[in-house]
Amino acid sequence: MNAKPEQRPDPFTVEVIRNALTAIAEEMSLIVMRSARSPLLREAGDLSSALTDSAGNLIAQGRDIPAHLGVMGSTVQEFLKRVPPQKLQPGDVWFMNLPEAGGNHLPDVKAIRPVFAEGAIQAYAVSLAHWADIGGARPGSYVPDARDAWQEGLRIPPLRVFSEQGPDREKLDMILANVRGAQEREGDILAQMASTYSADERLQEVFSRYDAATVQAAITDLHDQSEAEMRAAIRTLPNGVYVGEDWLDDDGLGGERIPVRVRIEIQDEQAVFDFSETGDAAAGPLNATPFTASASVFYAMKVIAGPDIQPNAGCARPLKIIIREGSLLHPPLEKPVVGGNHETSQRIVDAIFNAFENTIPERLTAGGSTTSGLLLFSGRDPRSGQWTTLYEVHGGGEGARHDRDGMCVARPHMSNVMNTPAEVIEANYPIIIEQQALRSGSGGNGVHSGGDGQIRTYLINGPEVVMTSMVERCIVPPFGLQGGEAGKTFNITLKRASGETENIAGKTHLRLQQGDRIIMKTSGGGGYGTPPTHDSRETADS
């Protein structure tokens, strides 16, 4: 079925090509998940895959993590600003993680492969994987009290790590020498490389069936389709100006709450998101990049107005995003960003929901556990003598909606990373999970109530373990909608082997001893609608 080059492929051909491209992106994620080493990738699925066109415009993505997917087009565009395309060769795989270069935070390392056909670059395959360690001051590369970007780990500018001849051993060793768990990291790097390799092979099949001109014309069409769909979606929102805000608990250094503010202007089929009133760059690691902010806006528009829009670069065309340089969402290069990726990005979605609360409440969900709920345990496993790091994220209650209660324990909005089973944790880390239970009564009351969070108790079962937390919603609770009550805040308690008990801050780092317990209670979801009676549910904490 060799199609002749033509100006505009028929819609059926476009659809056939879309299917093929999407299948390729999905297959990439499958390969990383199945062959990677870190539990974070293989158990929890903290990874994403995408294809872009030769200019870095997103054309297809896997069904992965929204926070990643929004930035991958920008990654390639920024990559191309730094590496001229004529330097690229078939078989290259370049790695990079700079937040300021289309990035989000250092642990999310992108592997980029140029795909050639008919003697020219036709596309890029991008595999993003969250490395369980990228070096820096603390195991797991989360430094809640970081004051600069270099404390957060190894910064990788565009670096050709693989070429047609195979790996560039010196560059690989340079990377591996600067991260913890070199062997596990090397396995992850190979998995990312393998996924881009498979994408290349599959794309070659597409280009052998249709010539490059036809495929490129189809891609143009797909971008136009998505643009039209996004315009139609915006038209479903009433014209007007909407203002919303939400607050970060603090900046990780014990500072004040930080506002995330948005002013949205809907004008027919255009939407402007102005974040100028958002607070200044934080001293600690809660800054986000403009790329992360765009990912959040795109996510919010998709869930509010057009869940079926095919995600690609065309969607962004009717959206204008204004971000003030020097603000929390466009920090100076030297500022730390590790937590902003999954905490501040969620605040942006919450602020947008807040803006629309009185206009389209039935399309929104009340505040959920919009935090990664991240706890990192790192320590030597006495059984193997090996140093291990567990990166675990925790879901909480889903917010209620106009027509149903929120569900218990789910990951909301920008992330969708899974938990690690207790049996896997106990077999691989010096930790015993004593309890994983629903935190009953933690969802906010309302006509429909918010979902409950969870309780998980970690018993430390090794002599030297350190823990890092990167958690929001400890101070500012998940909001209710239309009179619904807020959900309970996130709460972490340390119970020492000696019996002493203390509350742990959302962003902290501490040393633990054998027999210590961390009792983590995730936040509940907000309720929807004023509760019928005000003798609300039992509020004593469980």
Partner: protein
């Protein structure tokens, strides 16, 4: 997951008359019969072979979903036999699948380790839909909180007892269960797959209190508490239903018939084995078709094949590698994890009934389906939206002169009317729109085929495509060309293919156990003991069924990974197990699957053992009773294969084609249930066994 059979589904409201095709006209009391029966959601297929003279009878009757036994009785009646003349019944059923899909499960209680009763509600905490807020993030748990009981006990990750289960505690738990008024209990304790003592003792205690008990270390002896607990709950919840069905079945069979059931891993199991592990029926229906595809491969000497079963609403794909049907232990049913060995079937919700629609300037096919109510527009049963079947009708593939399944008169005009809306939207002709829908449908089928081959690390180009189901043979050649697949096989008896699969299947049992032996710390004695004891245990029921120990085959597969990986690679081996060879084979497989392998140490995670006795029937000795042979087309029509316009296409009756006579495309070969499309460039012939073999060609 499919809940229907492998056939186009028809609306229950149609004036559907029992269609039966009886080959041969013998007396009812001429000896005993071996019978394969597959009860699907819509149809029950039966194929029987006479022990005395090898006569074969087949039929297809409506399934009686409210009472599956009735389906068997009416299938018997259709081929004029009864229980008294059936020596062996080999039986596949979608009963368990349907019960799970429809949520028609027994109420039950769960016993979990102290602190873990909510595991099934917490799940893995990820949401199903990334961008749909109105969809609940997860499925609700199968056991509500008030029926979840915690037992004070704790086993550690190495099997050490961290907190013993006391007699008093076991009694306390039994007391609580007693007060819950349930007949069925699932028990799933932490780390029981390493040390099952607590589960066993609790199970004994509870077996005096309740009728059905499922223990997680028996149902799914693998780590990951959420998945194992769910598997155990589903097993327990199917027990009452399965027991009552098997009781009826055994009452019907009396002393006359031996009953074997088709299990999800692609072989036969005894009634007693299924009774204690009813979840093994979860994929019973599709597994029969998959096993038959595997059997065809071994008989035709094909190494690798893809099974392609396209029905009205779902399409199932599976792979056969090196002549072996692929099984996996990491699948989902109706959105819930099921960790047990099942044939690796990849299902997509697309088939002949998938609706094509305009979305902005784009065209989409599916996921909405006209299903069996009202069905495609060309069925004339009230459907108005254009479906894939309507595209096939418009292109001239389906025969308007023929009653589909002997019952439904197809209308080309109705198909064209439905297709017109698409044609208008894109300013093309109706035929071009139909051609487009046909291509887009193939593209989504290609995605399913891609997934099933990628997961198994097999290059689709090395495979043959085995096409069955109502719509499979219509799309098979076009799909084969997409992948560069050279050969397509449309098996004989393709309309009762699953029943044939039952009749030709091996008696087999399979199990998987966690071992966790590092290559650096290899314990050859332990491995040897494990393998032999597993083999002996699995062989027992086969020997009991009368097979000589010498005829029993054992397949050992090591599930191996590098330290730190989660997914394992399947590496077959023989006794005595040689770790050097195992390591080399593992690295070779890993490289094939993922494109790289390193020299580091590896871990033998689990042992999978399959024990089987060869089946007594092969395709070659089941003959379709002949019809008069003819090389004359039954009609000559105009069919579309590409945008250049319609071409003159001969239409043949499949049963009339002489063996080895080559049909060159463009042509259509059909019987009452399926239509095989041969585009220009393809060639087909009936082989000596009766399979239709197609050389796909290139078309251009």
């Amino acid at each position: 997951m499919p809940c229907g059979g492998n056939h186009n589904e028809f609306p229950l409201t149609t004036k559907f008359r029992h269609f039966s095709r009886v080959n041969g006209m013998s007396d009812n009391d001429k000896g005993t019969w071996k019978v394969g029966i597959d009860i699907g959601g819509t149809f029950t297929d039966v194929l029987a072979i006479n022990a005395a003279d090898g006569e074969v009878r087949t039929a297809k009757v409506r399934s009686q979903t409210h009472d599956p036994i009735t389906s068997i009785v009416s299938a018997y009646a259709a081929i004029r036999i009864d229980w008294s003349t059936v020596s062996d019944l080999m039986h596949g059923t979608t009963m368990a699948t349907n019960a799970i899909v429809e949520g028609n499960l027994a109420p039950l209680a769960l016993v979990a380790t102290e602190g873990f009763r909510d595991t099934i509600e917490i799940g893995r905490q990820n949401r199903r839909e990334l961008y749909r807020l109105e969809v609940t993030p997860k499925l609700p748990p199968l056991v509500p909180q008030h029926l979840r009981v915690e037992a004070i006990e704790r086993i550690g990750p190495e099997g050490q007892v961290l907190k013993p289960l006391t007699e008093a505690e076991a009694c306390r738990v039994a007391g609580i269960i007693d007060s819950l008024n349930v007949d069925t209990v699932a028990i799933a304790l932490q780390h029981c797959f390493v040390n099952a003592d607590h589960e066993k003792r609790l199970g004994e205690q509870l077996s005096s209190t309740v009728k059905y008990v499922a223990l997680s270390h028996e149902m799914s002896p693998e780590p990951r508490e959420f998945e194992r607990t769910n598997t155990t709950i589903l097993s327990a919840a199917l027990m009452p239903l399965t027991a009552s069905y098997l009781d009826k079945l055994q009452a019907g069979a009396g002393d006359h018939s031996n009953i074997h059931l088709f299990h999800s891993a692609g072989g036969m199991a005894s009634v007693e084995a299924v009774r204690s592990r009813p979840l093994t029926l979860a994929l019973s229906g599709p597994a029969a078709g998959v096993a038959a595809a595997g059997k065809i491969c071994s008989e035709l000497g094909l190494d690798n094949a893809i099974g392609f079963d396209m029905g009205g609403t779902t399409t199932d794909t599976c792979v056969v590698i090196d002549g072996k049907v692929q099984v996996g232990s990491d699948q989902r049913l109706a959105g819930r994890p099921v960790r047990q060995l099942m044939v690796a079937v990849e299902s997509i919700g697309a088939g002949g009934g998938s609706i094509a629609r305009v979305e902005g300037s784009a065209v989409r096919v599916g996921p909405d389906s006209a299903g069996s109510e009202p069905g495609p527009a060309c069925y004339g049963l009230g459907g108005e939206l254009p479906t894939v079947t309507d595209a096939n009708m418009t292109l001239g593939y389906l025969n308007p002169e023929r009653l589909l399944g002997g019952a439904i008169q197809l209308s080309r005009e109705a198909a064209g009317t439905a297709m017109q809306t698409l044609a208008d939207a894109f300013a093309t002709s109706v035929d071009e729109a139909a051609l487009g829908v046909y291509r887009v449908a193939n593209a989504s089928m290609a995605r399913a085929l891609r997934r099933v081959t990628v997961k198994r690390g097999v290059d689709a180009r090395s495979c043959s495509l085995i096409a069955f189901g109502g719509a499979g043979p219509m799309h098979a050649v076009a799909l084969a060309r997409e992948f560069g697949i050279a050969r397509v096989v449309v098996p004989k008896f393709s309309s009762v293919f699953s029943a044939l699969g039952c009749l030709t299947a091996e008696l087999s049992y399979a199990e998987q156990h966690t071992v966790r032996m590092p290559s650096a710390d290899w314990d050859a004695d332990r491995m040897d003991t494990l393998c032999r004891s597993m083999r002996d245990r699995l062989s027992t029921p086969i020997v009991a069924a009368g097979h000589a120990a010498g005829t029993i085959e054992t397949l050992f597969i090591g599930l191996i990974r590098y330290a730190g990986q989660s997914d394992t690679v399947e590496v077959p081996f023989v006794l005595p197990c040689d770790p050097e060879k195992l390591g080399a084979d593992f690295r070779a497989r890993h490289k094939k699957l993922y494109g790289f392998a390193t020299e580091e140490a590896w871990l033998f995670e689990s042992l999978r053992t399959t024990v089987s006795a060869p089946s007594q029937h092969s395709f070659t000795d089941i003959h379709e009773t002949g019809q008069e042979k003819s090389t004359t087309p039954i009609s000559v029509d105009q069919c579309w294969f590409d945008a250049s316009g319609p071409v003159t296409t001969r239409r043949f009756e499949r049963g009339a084609l002489p063996v080895d006579w080559e049909v060159e495309g463009p042509a259509v070969i059909e019987d009452n249930w399926s239509t095989i499309v041969l585009p220009p460039g393809a060639t087909a012939w009936i082989d000596a066994t009766g399979h239709l073999i197609i050389t796909a060609g290139t078309g251009a």
